[in-house]
Symmetry: C2
Subunit: 460 residues, 2 copies
């Protein structure tokens, strides 16, 4: 059998013909290697441990938020990020003062409450009024104007446990929108069963539309106690004493660091989590986890060699009370056309169970390589569900940036969310590492390819 | 084949020969019927619901305890008990004032604490001192006198989850005995990881030996935070501000009602739970459940007809801070020889998984009948474990009263015990009913037989 010797020119031509396949194989091998390093890497855990231990709770407008800003800059520097920026903005911020609630009749009970962000204060010394319990939010909405005059409206609708967290959107309306609806009907106070799936005495706070009346969340057992007391048919009197303050222009910052691309540094992947938190816990699952996952994933995706495109990690500065998304868009509007893809990790630290890719680009060789890394991580690529984005990337999405969703298992998330129970011990290190592995494999394949997720030219 | 006709005399003799067997069969059938009624009866749930909703938390020495007393008398009357008694005594009682704790350096954190019963107050304005963390109680005991001078000692030993609750006795010593040990070594404050199996931010209180220093329980996540901060090697400063009051002679009451026996009314079965509770929750599993189980079981055991012996249900009045056991013995010392058997339900509302009968009497036909009711309830009769009694019957036990244990599944008990999470929703109605069924079958067979559990004559 004769040997065929290729000329140098023919050899180069042959190589060129197969190079896309070779490149895809290289990307797949690289993604698998990045994934496997992520599964044993402790960076994300260390970041979450550091933020929750050395800063703790960090409400926008509080001194802790300034410490969080300094922590973020120092952490990005320590991890080797470049081009670190602190982009200042101002935003309205609510802050909690002393709060208490109790049943004063027919039998006294102390109640566990947390005021909702945006709540009004009571007069000094509090208010005492009879309650009216509604087992659904709709039942309260069905009341005519004036029907709740002088009463404290109590809505006790419960929330189901869901993997995709969709019950939050559905039931959360009683927290987000209820206070002005109660006020419109004459109520002098508004209490809800916490938007939560737990059964502890810890209430869950969160933002609510201001209604000019005091508004608070009851713990699940306290909401059920009020239902039982009301069912006895005698007037149930509740005293609320709630103080808070509102700052119309609190200082806030979006903080970012980059791994600069070595070939196309102005093509940017924008990912991150939010640095601010509510006040009762230490903001571990919401959202030290997101900060930790995206920071660690970016670092891992840049090993062993720098990527072709730039990966930017953003620590958004005011997700809970709003403001960071708009501020980020305002500061980066001119750059939106250069955003390759945006992603946000703000669903806790539960394992990722599915990925929703932008349709454009989903079948590119780089995404084929990415998807080849997923079976080991037990992640499905969703065919049906489109990506929805997240609060902090909603600004740049609205301006045309493509975006991806990594859907985390939220079955346990609302046991902890916005409560004193949001602490580091609730993060499972193995689940956290699985998140990092998915993100790192994605970043690696996108940053080292020319995949284009844009469906159209960016909006002007 | 010739027929044999028995003479009337021979017939009566034959009947007499088999009558013990007939009696045992009747008892077994009666026990099974009582058991089955108990499984669908709502009395216990209704009692627990009423006590937790209409009284709530009830510390000895508090106004709520007076309401609990009135509730107990009214409830026994409503359920048809006779010979209702309120036996007054006095006992030392501790009461909680305002409490707060925070890490003030190197990074500020609010801490979730509950003072231990018996704790001293801090001076007004609190104390601030560096902490020393011990991961085991023994490690603190190993310190020489003076080693903790000016420090706040922190013991973070954790507690394992056990079906029989035995880890409470082992690990609980750091709560019960630690404050004076810390004080002896110079400590100015004493903090423990809650004696608990949960991971919520809710601390668990309980009685502790007074050490002349402030002593409190940290929630599990707070104890772990202090461990992490201390591991960084910088001094960790904690501020404690704790106020409390001690009443050396608080009014208390043991309340009882009877179903009087129709044949031997002076032979008495003494059962019950304790009416007092700690203050953070509503005393549902500790011990509205015990009150509910024993009250409902007594009522069910007396249907359809009154029993031969008397069944007495006692609502002991000061278990948590001590006093009711001694007071009960003092008031009933002359009667101890007439106590057929004593039993206490104070392990929550988890299902009964085993029964420890007194050895004497365990093979009596009445107990054979009782045991025949148990397989359906998935209850084992323990061959190895002797009954241990309980806090409130320890007085009469020490004077010679025989006693029985119904061992409840305590796997979840210490998630809730002595915390704000001890609320009605933690009681599973089906598990509560299983408890009632076991107790009711036992009461029925003992109260309708002549089983004698005494091993010797009562002590004089």
């Amino acid at each position: 059998m004769a040997m065929r010797i290729l000329s140098p020119l023919a050899f180069a031509a042959a190589l060129a013909a197969v190079s896309p396949a070779f490149a895809a194989d290289d990307l797949a091998a690289g993604a698998a290697a990045v994934r496997d390093r992520a599964l044993t890497d402790s960076t994300a855990w260390d970041v979450a441990e550091s933020l929750t231990s050395e800063v703790g709770a960090r409400m926008v407008g509080s001194p802790a938020m300034e410490r969080a800003r300094d922590w973020g800059v120092a952490k990005l520097k320590e991890l080797g990020f470049e081009n670190i920026k602190v982009e200042a903005f101002t935003t309205p911020a609510w802050s909690r003062g002393a709060e208490s609630a109790e049943v004063v009749g027919p039998w006294p009970h102390k109640l566990s409450i947390l005021g909702l962000g945006g709540s009004s204060s009571t007069p000094a010394g509090g208010i005492t009024a009879p309650i009216v319990v509604f087992k659904t939010y709709q039942a309260m909405l069905d009341q005519p104007p004036g029907a709740l005059k002088g009463k404290i409206a109590v809505v006790t609708q419960s929330m189901g446990r869901t993997q995709d967290g969709s019950s939050y959107g559905a039931v959360g309306v009683q927290r987000r929108a209820g206070a002005p609806e109660a006020a419109k009907r004459g109520a002098v106070g508004y209490l809800i069963r916490s938007i939560s799936t737990d059964d502890t005495r810890l209430p869950h706070t969160g933002g609510g539309a201001p209604g000019g009346i005091p508004a608070a969340a009851l713990s699940t057992p306290d909401a059920e106690l009020l239902e039982r007391l009301a069912a006895r048919g005698k007037p149930v009197m509740v005293k609320l004493d709630m103080q808070s303050a509102a700052n119309p222009g609190a200082a806030a910052w979006n903080i970012s660091g980059e791994i600069r691309g070595k070939e196309k540094p102005d093509e940017v992947i924008v990912i991150g989590g939010h640095l601010d938190s509510w006040d009762p816990g230490t903001g571990a699952i919401d959202d030290a986890a997101g900060i930790a996952i995206t920071t660690a994933a970016a670092k891992l995706a840049a090993q062993p060699g720098k990527p072709k495109r730039t990966i930017r990690v953003v620590m958004w500065g005011s997700e809970e009370q709003g403001g960071s998304s708009g501020a980020y868009l305002a500061a980066h509007r001119d750059e939106v056309g250069k955003i390759v893809v945006a992603g946000e990790s703000d669903g806790g630290a539960g394992r990722i169970w599915s990925v929703s890719l932008p349709k454009a680009g989903a079948d590119h060789a780089a995404m084929v390589a990415f998807k080849s890394a997923l079976p080991k991580l037990k992640v499905a690529v969703s065919r049906a569900a489109p990506a929805e984005g997240g609060a902090d990337i909603s600004g740049i999405i609205s301006a045309g940036a493509p975006f991806v969703d990594f859907n985390q298992d939220m079955n346990r998330y609302f046991d902890l969310h916005h409560s004193a129970d949001d602490t580091l011990d609730k993060i499972d290190p193995a689940e956290l590492a699985q998140n990092v592995a998915v993100w790192a494999a994605f970043l690696y394949t996108v940053a080292n390819s020319d995949v284009d997720f844009r469906t159209a030219a960016p909006k002007p």
